[in-house]
């Protein structure tokens, strides 16, 4: 049939020719107007006789508008991707159980942290049914000490991590968005960042004190830098996007632009930094404890420090706190990385 049509202009064909031009000024394109389903409703077409199949169908603008939707949801994809990372999910469950157990442990043990006494008859006992984790150089029960220290360390880490991230985010947002302050914060950053943090910690320990509270405050005071810079660089990416210009055109104020327009884009990065700040803080705490900058009776760092002199002969001093510390830090490290992978839209494949 194709050969038949060749060279023929429409005018040569015998049948009446339909003019297809639509007067666009009169076409009712109001998509809000509901049109009743006519005989052209797609499902009914399959039963049409052939002649009717080749008739013009009614045009419905809503159908045209409707076909393009995407059902993609960012956070749903993030969650789906995250749940696919089995090691991270398993470790997260383990951690949650472990955290709950720090409270249970003391309760099921005959010893209580507050009541521990120096006992020279029972120093360096190996784990037994009496002392489940053995005893310390002072003859104290290591089980309750270890779990108590775990709770202290997790609390400290959580506090410091949240403090660092909150401070870092707020400073980073302002640093990135307010052009006039860029220079000031950059210089401040360079000034602080050029020197290893351990030096500052040293000075603070020396000048102010070595209690956990002071050290936590110090860790926050010097720990916001990384987050702030990260946030600032991201703000740079979003700052001059057109939707922010649009907000400025509409007269939106600084803080609302920061928290409604920019902050939501940074959540994935912030959560990542938060999860990574926890193992970072715990590791840092052990280092500081080891260097003698924190004076606290029990924390995982202190336990590890105390074990250094004995663990070659009494490995239980090292093993229990080391295993717990490692579980916590590896969990958050894995969770953080899995989350950041899940947040990357390129991985939403």
């Amino acid at each position: 049939m194709a050969k038949e049509n060749r060279k023929k202009t429409p005018q040569e064909l015998e049948e009446p020719i339909v003019k297809l031009d639509v007067d666009y000024s009169t076409v009712d394109t109001d998509p809000k107007k509901e049109r009743p389903f006519g005989r052209e409703y797609p499902q009914s077409r399959s039963r049409m006789p052939e002649k009717q199949l080749f008739e013009f169908a009614e045009y419905r603008p809503q159908d045209a508008e409707r076909i393009g939707y995407s059902n993609y949801s960012y956070w749903k994809s993030v969650l789906q991707n995250f749940l696919k990372k089995k090691p991270a999910v398993i470790m997260l469950c383990v951690f949650i159980l472990l955290f709950i157990f720090t409270y249970v442990a003391e309760w099921i043990s005959p010893y209580k942290v507050a009541e521990l006494q120096q006992d020279n008859n029972s120093i360096f006992l190996l784990p037994s049914s009496e002392h489940w984790f053995g005893t310390t150089q002072a003859g104290k029960d290591y089980w309750v000490i270890t779990w108590y220290a775990t709770r202290v360390s997790i609390g400290l880490a959580a506090m410091v991590a949240v403090g660092q991230i909150v401070a870092g985010t707020v400073i980073g947002l302002v640093w990135g968005y307010v052009r006039k302050l860029d220079r000031f914060f950059t210089e401040l950053y360079n000034l602080i960042d050029n020197i290893p943090t351990i030096i500052y910690m040293t000075l603070i320990a020396l000048m102010i004190g070595q209690s956990v509270g002071i050290m936590a405050a110090a860790m926050i005071a010097f720990g916001w830098l990384g987050t702030a810079r990260n946030v600032r660089n991201l703000v740079f990416m979003y700052r001059d996007r057109e939707y922010n210009l649009a907000s400025r055109c509409l007269g939106t104020g600084l803080w609302r632009i920061l928290f409604r327009n920019i902050f939501p884009y940074l959540i994935s990065v912030i959560v990542l930094r938060l999860t990574l700040a926890i193992p970072g803080t715990i590791a840092y705490e052990t280092t500081l404890s080891y260097l003698g900058l924190i004076s606290e009776e029990y924390s995982l760092g202190i336990l590890l420090k105390n074990s250094r002199d004995y663990f070659l002969r009494f490995p239980h001093m090292l093993v229990f706190p080391a295993v717990i510390v490692s579980i916590i830090t590896i969990t958050f490290y894995l969770v953080g990385n899995a989350f950041s992978d899940a947040c990357d839209p390129r991985n939403h494949v």
Binding site: N190, L191, N194, I195, P196, I198, I199, T202, L203, A205, L206, M207, P279, I282, A283, T286, T287, Y290, L291, G292, L293, G301, L304, K305, S307, R308, F311, L312, P315, L318, A322, V325, S326, T329, I330, F332, Y333, L334, N337
Partner: protein
């Protein structure tokens, strides 16, 4: 280029001086008791203390003390004679008074950062640090060389065989090293090295080689993981870029693309942090050295702090600040050498 270099150098110097000043002034807030040895504190009366402080200028207003500190930082020292600060020396020369050196004794220019009062009583600080610095540098440089070679090579291999077995093993290693606190992993290495291979658990100068193996492993372990991680990440980033697609379209095989295009481009961002990390490693790892009782910079700081040896702490801070600032500066310079897009002259893009 030269102009930029000088400008940056000057900036760095200002930064260091600023930090030193702040630290110096902060130190002056501490009680004056810390200027005495522990035994002196016991036996001195308040008057004796005051006399000493007066004599050493420690009761002057802090800003005056700071000025003196900078004035006396560089000295012309005559053996068994007096010392001249820089301005005194110049004045003596210019005014025709001449240098007071009757016996023609040996005279040298030297840094003067004060004396250690508690760790090594009476010793100039720079001398105390100097001895320790040598050993820290040795360990630092060895471990850094090991880490750099291993880290870059392994990182490249990981990127090359991305998602393969080797990549996963490498990633597991970096996760382990980064996630587990160093104190724990050092303990692990110590146990394995000591119990299985019989290596010494603490440093001894008699058996230096063998006793340095574990510390070097510990130091290298962390930075290897760092270099691996970043090298792999930068390589993968580069591999996703448009120009790699064009190189592939040219008909280049993926091996050639790796070596001719990706490797160098991925190394550039790494290069920027190289000098900084070298200088810091050289400065000594506090933890490793304390852990293995190596008489380097590390333990010195942790000894000086609880004993409040102020001059020593101050000098160490200055050293670290200097190293850090120089490291950042060198990193920027290195970056310019590698990346033609960065022009230090600030001419902007040519069209």
């Amino acid at each position: 280029m030269l102009k930029y270099t000088l400008k940056r150098l000057l900036q760095s110097l200002v930064t260091v001086l600023l930090i030193v000043s702040i630290v110096f002034l902060l130190m002056r807030l501490l009680p004056t008791d810390y200027y005495f040895r522990e035994d002196e504190l016991m036996k001195f009366t308040d008057e004796q203390k005051n006399e000493r402080l007066e004599a050493e200028g420690l009761l002057d207003p802090p800003l005056v003390q700071l000025g003196n500190f900078f004035r006396n930082m560089v000295q012309y020292q005559i053996k068994k004679g007096r010392s001249y600060s820089l301005d005194q020396y110049i004045y003596a020369k210019l005014s025709g008074q001449g240098i007071d050196n009757p016996k023609n004794a040996k005279a040298t220019w030297a840094f003067n950062l004060g004396i250690s009062r508690r760790i090594q009583y009476g010793q100039p600080v720079q001398k105390v640090i100097g001895e320790k610095f040598a050993i820290s540098m040795k360990i630092g440089l060895i471990s850094l060389a090991v880490a750099l070679v291993l880290g870059v090579v392994l990182g490249v291999l990981q990127a090359r065989y991305k998602d393969g077995v080797f990549d996963h093993v490498g990633t597991a290693y970096t996760v382990f090293v980064n996630a587990v606190p160093h104190l724990v992993s050092y303990s692990l290495i110590l146990i394995i090295g000591n119990q299985i291979f019989g290596l010494p658990a603490v440093y001894s100068s008699r058996d230096e080689f063998r006793s340095l193996i574990l510390p070097v492993i510990c130091l290298a372990m962390g930075s290897t993981a760092g270099y691996m991680l970043w090298m792999r990440r930068y390589m993968v980033d580069e591999l996703n870029k448009d120009y790699i697609r064009l190189a592939k379209l040219k008909g280049l095989s993926s091996t050639k693309i790796m070596f001719r295009h990706v490797l160098r481009n991925a190394f550039v961002p790494l290069a920027q942090y190289l000098p900084y990390s070298i200088l810091l490693t050289v400065g000594g790892s506090l933890l490793v050295e304390s852990f293995f009782a190596i008489p380097g910079m590390g333990p010195m700081l942790s000894q000086a702090i609880p004993r409040y040896d102020l001059n020593l702490v101050q000098a160490i801070v200055m050293l670290y600040a200097g190293l850090g600032v120089i490291g950042v500066f060198l990193g920027d310079l290195l970056m310019c050498l590698f990346d033609p897009r960065i022009s230090l002259v600030g001419k902007g893009e040519a069209r």
